[in-house]
């Protein structure tokens, strides 16, 4: 063994890249993407900001957003004018439950993005994927190899 490393994600990316990860993570967690968002009345809502994630503006549109839903809970991911990635959770549940759902899904979005980026960049640097599977507690396990002369 050479080294064991723990890395914390820091994401700066364009909206289309993160939107693809939002869709992938949401579908894998049983959500569906909403094309038309109806405003619910009298529901609890909570806003979460991801400190380690910014979305780079690539156009003048400041209203990039995507809403997903599952069992009456709607989660909206968006990029604000400052480029911060925001998560808003709405539904007829207690605030703690909404917060847990939002944090879990936002984490999965980051996981999906990091997985895609690691696979792509390591392949660009000559690594081949030997193994890829799901581990305990929804972790993604990936083994890559590079052949050196």
């Amino acid at each position: 063994m050479g080294s064991t490393i723990v890395l914390v994600p820091l994401i700066i990316t364009a909206w289309p890249m993160i939107a693809a990860s939002v869709t992938a993570a949401a579908v894998s967690a049983g959500f569906h993407v909403m094309k038309v968002v109806k405003k619910q009345k009298k529901t609890e809502s909570i806003d979460l900001t991801m400190d380690n994630m910014d979305v780079v503006a690539e156009s003048l549109a400041h209203d990039d957003k995507i809403t997903v839903a599952r069992e009456g809970v709607e989660v909206t991911f968006s990029r604000d004018a400052q480029g911060h990635f925001k998560t808003c959770v709405e539904g007829n549940l207690a605030r703690d439950e909404l917060k847990k759902i939002g944090e879990d899904l936002a984490g999965r979005v980051i996981q999906s993005y990091i997985h895609k980026r690691l696979s792509q960049e390591l392949q660009n640097h000559g690594f081949v994927t030997l193994e890829e599977d799901k581990g305990p507690e929804d972790t993604i396990r990936l083994t890559v190899r590079r052949y050196e002369e």
Binding site: P16, E137, Y147
Partner: protein
Amino acid sequence: MKNHDIEIEITKDGKVHATIRGAKGKGCASYAKLLEQIVGRIQSQQPTAEFYEPDTVVQIKPTIETRQTK
């Protein structure tokens, strides 16, 4: 021919645990740097005995595309 392996575990909040096998010294450090460029920030690093063995030469391209362009 020598194999350099990286075993990666991505937790459900996006944190990455990586174990580098087969690369030594600066070679191992190059892979750690590459992972840092891809993921974000190294929270902790635990070099093992193999890390201190004589170097393996590893060539890593210095630039990484981080933004998607149209």
